[in-house]
């Protein structure tokens, strides 16, 4: 994955709001709310809660939600359970591949505070330190109703303009980057990229 130079600058956000699109912003907000595409990236136990959500019983497609395997097109990133450092690397890379505006929904108690793995040596305790979370759902494991409620909360936040995880990530990139580097060591992105270079 290519390094993004523009991420380092702290003033990115103010210039970033495209002025000429301000007029259509209410329309786009409505469209964003009505068409959340999920990046199909299932970690931990919660991946198994996705099939009931997608199938006939709860059917999230009636709200325009669609599982989409390509991170470039996705809007909603579901972290469905505990996150190990190895997974976190992939999560960060996927999250940065997604295009603004993007939203992140954390399932269960594990991403919030470690949950039952609170004393485990290889589970990331506080996901919020590494990437910004928009909505977190408590529970171990949240039922599909709770997940649906979380998604509704995201929709409400988008409508009110409060789902601003992507803005926070740009503004506080140094903070997040420092935490990530502390966990994985400096230069982990380059190392990770080098491993895949042979395939590209």
């Amino acid at each position: 994955m290519a390094e993004r130079k523009d991420f380092g600058e702290n003033d990115g956000v103010i210039h970033y709001e495209l002025q000429e699109f301000k007029l259509f912003e209410p329309l786009f907000k409505w469209a964003r709310k009505k068409s959340l595409w999920i990046v199909a990236f299932c970690t931990g136990c919660g991946g198994i809660e996705m099939p009931p959500l997608a199938t006939a019983r709860y059917d999230f497609e009636r709200f325009g939600i669609m599982p989409n395997p390509a991170p470039r097109m996705g809007d909603l990133f579901l972290i469905t359970g505990y996150v190990t450092p190895k997974t976190l690397k992939r999560i960060i890379i996927t999250y940065e591949m997604m295009q603004d505006p993007k939203y992140l929904l954390a399932h269960g108690s594990c991403p919030i505070n470690g949950g039952v793995y609170w004393d485990s040596y290889n589970v990331v305790k506080q996901l919020d330190k590494y990437i910004p979370i928009d909505v977190a759902i408590a529970g171990c494991m949240p039922r599909p109703e709770a997940v649906m409620d979380g998604i509704m909360e995201i929709m409400r936040k988008i409508e009110r303009g409060e789902a601003d995880g992507w803005k926070r990530y740009r503004e506080n990139y140094e903070y997040y980057r420092r935490n990530q580097d502390k966990l994985f060591g400096e230069g982990w992105r380059e190392k990770e990229a080098k491993r895949w270079l042979a395939w590209i």
């Binding site: 259509f24 786009f28 409505w30 964003r32 295009q99």
Partner: protein, 297 residues
């Protein structure tokens, strides 16, 4: 020396095709959902999706060819649309527009692949490879079906084809052409990228294939292209086998018929692997196609 009426007609047809194409995409999703006993998204959902993609604040680009791919695909789809007689309106017309349209309808895939290849994503490369193989595989039955049609009606001109069908009954009522219809319908499934032959995008295997790197405004362009393409392909099918149409409502109903055949087939069949698809194309549709051609000689 502008012919203003013609230009307005062309723009009107384009807007109509765009809206109806989006509605068709919505119908496709809705019908699939109903078949799976779900409620499904509203019919105008693809329009919302496209709006959202247009409203993205960021569009990663991988260079000129990457930007050029979707634009090229959209342009070709629009050109193909203008060659098809849609309810007495046909902007371009030549003596062999049947062949022109038949191949213009495949070129957009090449445009997308051009852009996808330049993104350098391995999934894109895999998708492109599969797409090209599918295209090669489906050429033979596709060609045979069209040869059978041309041999029966003795013309390459689409407008003449429509006129002849209105005089002597639809193509599908002729036994030999009914065989060609079956062949064309199988190929049509691959042209639309629907289920038995959705090897190219294969969401669960190679994560959208060529489309994996497209996002934001590029993806919105691709969505628009898909809408126009869907309209053009269904209209082409209706013109070839269901006697064209004299007004838009007639055309719309025939397009819906064609679309629903595709949806029903798509929703009950699983996906072929690429070698199975190539083998299948070169076996049954080809045999039926050859019989159809022999019957029309």
């Amino acid at each position: 020396m502008f012919d203003w009426r013609l230009i307005l007609d062309a723009i009107g047809i384009l807007i109509y095709a765009l809206v109806v194409g989006f509605i068709f995409m919505g119908i496709e999703r809705k019908a699939m959902a109903r078949i799976q006993r779900r409620i499904g998204p509203p019919i105008y959902q693809p329009i919302i999706d496209t709006l959202k993609l247009l409203g993205k604040k960021e569009s990663v680009s991988h260079g000129f060819i990457y930007n050029f791919g979707p634009v090229f695909a959209l342009g070709v789809s629009i050109t193909a649309l203008l060659f098809i007689p849609i309810a007495n309106f046909q902007l371009f017309s030549s003596n062999a527009d049947l062949i022109v349209v038949a191949y213009l309808l495949e070129v957009p895939m090449l445009g997308i692949m051009l852009g996808a290849m330049s993104s350098g994503n391995p999934y894109s490369a895999l998708g492109v490879q599969r797409g090209l193989l599918t295209m090669v595989a489906m050429q033979l039955p596709y060609g045979l079906a069209i040869i059978a049609l041309v041999q029966h009606w003795g013309t390459f001109k689409l407008s003449q084809l429509v006129a002849l069908q209105q005089l002597q009954g639809w193509s599908i009522t002729v036994p030999a052409l009914a065989l060609a219809f079956i062949v064309f319908d199988i190929v049509f499934q691959a042209l639309l990228g629907l289920e038995p032959f959705d090897i190219i995008t294969a969401p669960a295997e190679i994560s959208m294939g060529p489309m994996v790197e497209y996002g934001g405004k590029h993806a919105a362009l691709l969505f628009t292209q898909h809408a126009v393409q869907l309209f053009a392909e269904t209209a082409f099918f209706a013109v070839l086998f269901f006697g064209g149409a004299s007004n838009l409502l007639d055309l719309f109903l025939k397009q819906l018929l064609v679309l629903f055949i595709a949806i029903f087939v798509a929703s009950i069949y699983p996906r072929f692997t690429i070698d199975q698809a190539a083998k299948f194309f070169w076996k049954w549709p080809t045999i039926i196609g050859i019989i159809a051609v022999l019957l029309t000689v």
